[in-house]
Amino acid sequence: MQVSGRGTNVNFTIDDRAPFEAVIAGVEECLVKNRHLFSRGSITVNVGRRIMSREQLTQIKQILEAESGLTVAQFWCSPEILEETLSDISPEPPPELLDEGLDQDTAANSPDLPESRPDSGIPPAQLGLARPDLDGGEEPDEARDSPGQTLPWPTPDFPNLPDPISSIPPFAEKEELADTENEALPPEDSRDAESQSAPEAEASGGSPALMEPAAEISPESVGDLRAQPSLGTIEEPTIEPIVEPSLLELALVGLEQSIAEGGLESGQDGSPASLESRLEAASPKADLKEAGQGADASTDAGAGASISPHHETGGLNRQNEALLIKTTCRSGEVVRYPGDVVILADVNPGAEIIADGDILVWGSLRGLAHAGAGGDIQATIIALNLESPRIQIGPYIGMAPKAKKHSNSNRPGPTLALVRRQHIFVAPFKGRFAGYSGGTIYDG
């Protein structure tokens, strides 16, 4: 690994074709040796031409954060690479990308190849033998000035993918490929091998990843989406800006973690006795939760499993057990829980329920409800009487319509609220997983 630059403009350059373990080892070694050089701050890691899996990115992030005071805010790769990985259907994988998916021997045996980066400006013919320090490789830049471009949402229709293990000899093709500027080829084969073994739920994990405030945009999540041709609820492309978490948000993470150990906070300092009398843990509602989990393994459980802990409400780990509250939530009370919340009573105006999962109110929901608070837009809010002035699922907010209040006789009945086409829709409840094509928009 080589270090160049100084001040806020430091570049670490790593051989692009080195196997991932060597990369990790090299990064670690360099950080340990130069620990005194780093101060606290948030950085962007440029993965260059290298497409890496989510676990690998997480590993890099953890090492960087552990060994230095740096916080990895985001990963960055040039948009051209992203587009190419999406759109190109050529079956030959570029050599460096074989490293991740297949044997390490292949990598060791690969001849040095000239590579070009679209933005490096060096024509491939001049490169001759590959020189590591010209590669984009992996560059943890300190305090990168441009925080990265907005990455386009992957288009939903994907081409047919070839066999996971391609029989085409990769090396023979390389010279031809090297001649072209736009060289990057989709790492389909290696990707497919990984993505098909990854849980199917990664697909939905990819979509909320872009909604979350501290999302890691990695080509891996994109690749997973490719493995799933139909994206379910995602119907139109969205461009989401990448937002870096501020120190305030990280502090809130810690605060909410400490508060929500109990799972409930009231508007004033509630005495412990009253808090416990309101909380019912696990057993009576395990059935409810399991029924939910079993039935929707592909969507709900998957979404829960694939969202990394960093993106939950306040940074808490998603709880598998639902929170059951059997008393009315009074005005001024706030329930914050990293899981599903079931309330066997009313939620009065002025109360707030903030849950990472679904919110089910066996009564009237007249207070504020925020389901999918960790970014899960598959979450729903179901109430026997949905009269909330404002409901929120994931990042989408719906305000109550100005319709006249119904009298007791012709109330709408059990209602489900969900996200469709980036708006909140409410519809009479037909079942948690029934298809909801109708419904009225909840938009003030």
Binding site: G267, S271, S274, T327, T328, G332
Partner: protein, 272 residues
């Protein structure tokens, strides 16, 4: 004998806490109990005016708590000579000069002598509220059938439950039956559905109550006032009697029927 401390609270201001305190205290004394009523609205004292005792104040609650006078020196006996005493609030201080602990000690001391200690809570949910509920064993919530008052009452119920004052009872004040019948005002079932607490009683809106308050006589003394009658029923229920809740419809005479046919509206308040 150990008495019972009941706090009368509402959250929202102006719904009738002080009036209810005066009337309930008087009613319980009329039934033969030893009662003391305490005004904790320091700085904005009103209970003495409603009971007609404002010219007799020498010492007040803050003097008792701070030790400048003995407990009995600060208590004013009621005009009508029942076993009813008032501890007024201080007018020149504010609510921060009393602690919840001090209030609790005071209530415990009073419970040794009196059957009922009725605490009049100020509006709001801050220090005054915390002081008032500190010594209480039971709570009575006053509300009017208006959305704003219900919202505040809901908040207060949550705070009371957090302070271990479970299952407060509700008094719905200023009910206008004609509006309820027209559907312009919430009825008892709507309110109970929203708040989820038991109703202790409903008090109709009454001209005579306003007159009585201005004269410094609790309206429960007035035999002809429907609100007075309602307070009597409420007091009976507090005392353990089972009293049915009557319909608050005003009696209609022949003139009213004529008015109804001709479409002339009566005025909103009930007559005796």
């Amino acid at each position: 004998m150990t008495g019972k401390t009941i706090v009368i609270t509402s959250g929202k201001g102006g719904v009738g806490k002080t009036t209810a305190t005066a009337n309930i205290g008087t009613g319980l004394a009329m039934r033969g109990h030893n009662v003391v009523v305490i005004d904790t609205d320091i700085g904005l004292r009103n209970l003495d005016v409603v009971m007609g005792l404002e010219n007799r104040i020498v010492y007040d609650l803050v003097d008792i708590i701070e030790g400048r006078c003995k407990l009995h020196q600060g208590m004013i006996r009621d005009k009508h000579k029942f076993d009813l005493y008032l501890i007024p609030a201080a007018q020149t201080r504010d609510k921060n000069c009393v602690d919840p602990d001090q209030m609790r000690d005071l209530c415990r001391k009073l419970e040794e002598e009196f059957d009922y200690v009725i605490v009049d809570c100020p509006a709001g949910i801050e220090q005054g509220f915390k002081n008032a509920i500190a010594g209480a064993r039971d709570a009575i919530l006053i509300t009017t059938p208006e959305v704003a008052a219900i919202r505040d009452a809901d908040r207060v119920i949550g705070l009371l439950e957090a302070a271990e004052l479970h299952r407060p009872k509700l008094i719905i004040n200023r009910v206008i039956t004609s509006m309820v019948k027209r559907g312009d005002m919430m009825d008892k079932d709507d309110i109970v559905e929203l708040l989820g607490v038991d109703v202790l009683g409903m008090v109709p809106a009454d001209d005579r109550l306003i007159t009585a308050t201005n004269q410094g006589i609790p309206v429960i003394h007035d035999a002809k006032a429907p609100s007075g009658a309602a307070f009597s029923r409420i007091v009976a229920r507090i005392d353990g009697e089972e009293v049915l809740m009557p319909d608050l419809e005003p009696k209609t005479g022949i003139l009213d029927k004529v008015r109804e046919i001709m479409g002339i509206r009566r005025d909103a308040y009930t007559h005796a």
